[in-house]
Symmetry: C2
Subunit: 374 residues, 2 copies
Amino acid sequence: MKTKGDQQLVRRINRSVLLRLVRAQPGLSRARLAAESGLTKSTVGLLVRELLDEGWLGEAGAPVTDGLGRPSTPLQINVGVRALIGVEINIGIVRVVCVSLQGDVLHADAAQLHDHAPAAVCAQVARRVAAAHRALLASGLRLAGIGVGLPGTVHDATGVVRFAPNLGWRDVNLLPGLTEALAAEGVPEVALQLQNDADAAVLGEFEFAGGEGEDPLIFVSCDVGVGAGIVLNDRLFTGAQGMAGEIGHTVLQVDGPRCSCGRRGCAEAFISSRALEQAGGDTRHAAGYLGVLLQNLWMTFEPRAIVVGGKSCETHPALLGGAIETVRRYAASAGLAPPEIRPPRHGAWTPAVGAAAMVLHEYLRPLGSGTKPG
Amino acid sequence: MKTKGDQQLVRRINRSVLLRLVRAQPGLSRARLAAESGLTKSTVGLLVRELLDEGWLGEAGAPVTDGLGRPSTPLQINVGVRALIGVEINIGIVRVVCVSLQGDVLHADAAQLHDHAPAAVCAQVARRVAAAHRALLASGLRLAGIGVGLPGTVHDATGVVRFAPNLGWRDVNLLPGLTEALAAEGVPEVALQLQNDADAAVLGEFEFAGGEGEDPLIFVSCDVGVGAGIVLNDRLFTGAQGMAGEIGHTVLQVDGPRCSCGRRGCAEAFISSRALEQAGGDTRHAAGYLGVLLQNLWMTFEPRAIVVGGKSCETHPALLGGAIETVRRYAASAGLAPPEIRPPRHGAWTPAVGAAAMVLHEYLRPLGSGTKPG
C-alpha cells in the first residue's frame, strides 16, 4: 500500500526518532526504544542494526536487565566512527572545527582571511577543511558532513548569499565553487550546508545541549552587525526567504541615531561594535539597549532561553551583564520572573561549532518543510 | 513491521496531505492526487473513499480525462456535510459563527455578555452555540468541532486561561465547565479548542486563505491590549508555554510612558485603545508607533504578510493607514520593498471565524508537536 518513497520517508523519520531517543537517554535498550517510540520490536531491531552498522549508534558494555524481558545491550550515540566539520567565514578569519556527534570539539583551527573574493575564500576554506579532514582520518573518524556559517543572509531555497555587507558580497552563489574547491583538495563528497552565522550558532546550542534541546531558543550575535538565530516548533526558523532574525534593525527609538541601513533608531545603531568603539569602551549605554532588545525578544517569542554571543561580548565582558541587569529591571517592573539569558558554551568558536550542528539538524529533523505538500 | 499506532499516524498524515492538496487545487483527480502526494493509487483510492464517506470531500461533476489514464472524477472539499463553529468571548460580547470548511460564514450571531464570571460565560456561550448548532442542522449540516478564542493567555499543555485581565480572570480552567454546559444544551460532543483571540485570528487568515496559506503570517490585534498571533513552520507558534506574541509589551521607547504592565515605553502605552482615547481621537501618534511595531515584526519574522485588526482599527479607520505609511518610510530609508500589511477579511468577526479555523488547523496539521519523541 506504500510507495518506495513513502517507505523511505517513514524509515528516515523512524531512524531520526530512535537516534533522538538514544541521545536524550543514553543507555536505552532496544526494548525500551520500542516502548518509547511506539515502533514494533522488529522495526527497532532492524533500524538499530542499520544505525550500528553505519556507526551512528554504539553498544555500551554488557547486556543488562531493565525489566522488559530478557537482558539487552544498552545503546548510545557512537562518537567513535563519524564526526562533523564546521566552518565559520568571518571578517579576516576562517575558523574550522571537527566536532563529535555529541558536540565535543575534537580539532579547532583558525586562519587569517586576507582576500574576501569568493573564489579566494572557497580555496582557503577548502585547504583548512582538508587539513581538518586529515586530522579526523588520523583519529580513525569518518566525515559525516560539512556546515558553513557566514555573516550574511542566505536565501533558503537556493543557498545563494543574498547580502553579506562585511564581506562585500551580494548575490554570491558560493556552494558550487566551494564544492569544487573541496573536491580539488581531496575532501570526500558529503552533505554541505551554508547558513547565516547566527542561525548556525543557535543550532549548536540546540543540538549539542544534551537531550532534546530548548525550544524556543534564540541566539543573539553582537558584532559589527546584530542578528538572531531562532529555533522554534522543533526547527530552525528563517522566515519567508531566509531573512528573519534581522533584530539589529528593529527600531528601539523613534528618530534615534542614523543606522548603517539608512533607518533611524535601529538596535544596531546603539549596540554594534562600531557604536561600542565610539563610546570609547564604556558599555553602559549599549548594554541598556541590548537589554531592551532582549526584553523585546522575550515578549515576542517566550523562549526557553536566550544565548548572547559574538565578538562584542568577548571584547566587552561587561556588556552582557549590563544587558541582563536591564532585563531584570523590566521583569521586576512587570512582576515577572526574568527569562534565562546566558553566554554560549563555545565562546568565539560558537558559529563554527554551530555550523557543524547544522548537518546533524538536517539529519535528525527530516520532517522540516517536507510536511508541506505541493 | 508497523504497530497499530504507527499506521494510525501515517493514515492521519496521509489524509491531511490529500485534503490539503484538494483544497489547494480543487478538481484534482485521484490519479493526480497520487502523482502529487507520492502515495500509491490504491492508498489514495482507499483514503479518498473514506473522506467521501465522512463528508470531507465531494465529487464535482462528471469524470474527465486529465492525461493520466482513464477518465476520473474531479474532487473538491465538500462544503455540504460538515461545518465548524467559532466563538469569541470578549469584553461585554459573545460572538458565534458557523463557518464552512472553506471559510464561508454561514451564520453569525453576537450577544451582550453582562456577567464575566466563568460559569455565567460558559452558560451563555453554550446557549448561543446550541442556537448556532440548530441553524446548522436546519441547513442539513453536521458539526465538526468548536473553537473558542478569548483575550487572554492560554497555557498550551493544560488549556487553562492563565491571565485575561480584561475579563478579570487568572488561572481559570474553562474547558470542563464549557464541556458540561454544551452537553446540558444538547450540543453533540465534538472537538473543543480554546486559544488566545489573536492566535485564533491568525489561523482564520491562514487556513481560510484558499491554497496553502501564507507562512510566516502574523496577525496583530489592536484593542484594549495589543498582541500578535503567529503562524510559522506550518503551525501556530505560541512559545514555551503559550505566552509568545506579547508584542504590546515590547519596549519602543526607553523611559517612555508607564504601561499598564508596570514597565515603561511598551508599545501598548502608545497604541492601546486607552491611549487612543486619551489622544481624543487623533490617531497620528499611535499610528506612528504601530508602524514601528510592524517594522520590528517585519525585521524579526520576515513574514509573507502582516494582518492588522482589532477594535481600535475599526473605531479609528485612519490608524492602519498611518501605520502602513510609517513602515513605508522605514522601508524606503533602507532601500527595501515594504512588506504586505492588510486588514483582516472578516472585520470584527475575525477572532470568531479564526476560532472555527483552529479546529481545521488541528485536523490538517497533525504533525505539530507530535514529531517530538519523548
